[in-house]
Symmetry: C2
Subunit: 406 residues, 2 copies
Amino acid sequence: MDWSRKVSVQSARVKESSIRGVVAKAMRKPDMVFFAGGEPGPDLFAYGEIRAAFDKVLRDPQLAETALQYSSSEGVSGLRDWAAHQMTATGVPCRRENVLITSGSQQSLDLVGRLFIDPGTPVYVQVPTYSGALQAFRAHGAAFRSLWSDGSDPPDAPSRGLGYIIADSQNPSGRTLTIDERLRAIEVAARLALPMVEDDAYSGLRFDDRPLPSLMQLSLDGKPVDEGWAIHLRTFSKTIAPGLRTAWIVAPSPLIERLTAIKQGADLQTSALSQLVALELVERTGGEIARRLADAYRSRRDVMLDALRVEFGSDVTWTLPEGGFFVWMTLPDGIDATALLDRAIAAGVVYVPGRAFHADDSGANTLRLSYSMMSPERIREGVHRLAVALRPALARTRPARSGAAS
Amino acid sequence: MDWSRKVSVQSARVKESSIRGVVAKAMRKPDMVFFAGGEPGPDLFAYGEIRAAFDKVLRDPQLAETALQYSSSEGVSGLRDWAAHQMTATGVPCRRENVLITSGSQQSLDLVGRLFIDPGTPVYVQVPTYSGALQAFRAHGAAFRSLWSDGSDPPDAPSRGLGYIIADSQNPSGRTLTIDERLRAIEVAARLALPMVEDDAYSGLRFDDRPLPSLMQLSLDGKPVDEGWAIHLRTFSKTIAPGLRTAWIVAPSPLIERLTAIKQGADLQTSALSQLVALELVERTGGEIARRLADAYRSRRDVMLDALRVEFGSDVTWTLPEGGFFVWMTLPDGIDATALLDRAIAAGVVYVPGRAFHADDSGANTLRLSYSMMSPERIREGVHRLAVALRPALARTRPARSGAAS
């Protein structure tokens, strides 16, 4: 059978992640330093506490039955209540009915995409933005536009559309929006009458004790979730472990009802076992696991920033992340990070070229470095290898003054 | 914000499951006999073995790291190999590349729907058929047609389309297709040039040792999976537990590649922890858990069929399932099972009206009874309550001769 003539029109929009291909290729080589991927450090998982939580849930007869049986599409009530309480504690009145538990934030993005996007619907994003969101929204036919395109906004608000923003320790840029930038994003979304999706995967891994107010919090200004037009995405993948496949959406209840119906057709429900284990962990450890992880990632960030200062000159710039996993590097104009990847892999280090994070395939001279997975020693070694791999290209673009030193 | 003007056109096609509403409503009443829902018997889960498998995976440093980390979208290699071996053992040459692990069969249905269905694509189904498949395919705009509509098939095969068939212990009818019926389904699909999806959730819960060849097996006749046009869906939800949220798709490798890309955008991956636990359970117990479950469900089926014979006369008919969870009851024409549901719930028993399983909303005089969740004593009591609830309606439609006896 000629499958290409049998598959749907909608499926032609689906593209595989270029990042996963890069990582898979590089993983087959020994002694590789992984600055690609966005995985948590495997040495940092709270193995003992997670195992104890599974054991506790599966030993309790009533919890075990709930955990192993079919369960509601909305999610386990106790976990929805916990999520609502977390939001309320930041000054955003929130009820259980404002929360839908999902099978990871990628599913949250897909469900939100299904709810708001048809072929051609404008989706306003940061540049760069998270490649997984581009992938999820593109599958539904999103027409991407820059959220910050001064003056080029359409004069009239589109009848449909969506804003997508990562305000804290963004993947891929590592940038955290200032309060002013947050207020401006809210103003843009309001002017265009856009529902605004805030993907908050990393605020739980902030490196200091001065959290910034979320876009949801700022836009509501004390009003309850139901009275706003912000949609807030959270996940346990970074603060506990991706293997739980447990995340959640906070949104006005009419949207949660629609998203629940969509989720029911998409995968019925998220594992109640994972939900009960996550609830046990957050209730028993009270955020301690996330604090330990944030401490470890701060150390790794410090090592990477220090090594970058040592190894690179002023013709290369990078961001200074306040949390999360990522440093974003910008090379001089005319250097293509994709073209240099093979040389980097040959030198024993792998990164993600920045084009994957641009809807319009721009950003050729950028790349994403993740410091989350590697030990401090390996980070130093990796940055050194990166400098060795990039040096010839940098030397060619350097003004004669610097070039003479090489 | 007026959300109804902001949501997508595609989301207007999404309908919530009517079954979940029925079950939720009835569950709030005490002493209810649940013949609704399609859940496994909660008393039958292999609690100890499942807990031991989680403990084993999470105690092994290498397995624990794989389990908790991000993992490949295709699934864990060991589990894909196991699934391929299972298929090969039934005479269908199958490789790892023919297997995609999913987060439950509902996700398999959604992914297959995305791959083959655009608005208006014809989808040929049995009448009745599984309501969750109608829900998943309807979300993508399927135009449902009866697979068995003699003579009314379009003269030319549609350029796109899909066949969807449950051959073993069907949900909802409890029917198992004979070899002749299977061959006829294959012939119809071939004539219409339809990719054929076989949803095999229940063949692992067959009540005797005479398994019938799957549609995939019959259609391939010894050829490898890659040379056919059948797509085979399996799940651990019935043979281990729904809480694992682990199922798989067997299909030609070009389709697995496309389905993998779609899954990547939909939820990145299925929990590697669940996959490793499922693999541990099938490798260590070798199907023993499924055999114990099948024995228990056979006893429950026997009790239900016996009680139906005792309580109902010849004006009501029902199926004789050879496996699975369900008996399908047909009432005399003119009796509406939906209208009688409130009376049944008042009598302390709940079922699912048959209309939920008909794409065209027909089947008013049918209903689905599940014997999976209740103990033998409760099944007897429930069938008695059902007879009491239906008696007045049955008496009104009965010929005078029988009516005189009441």
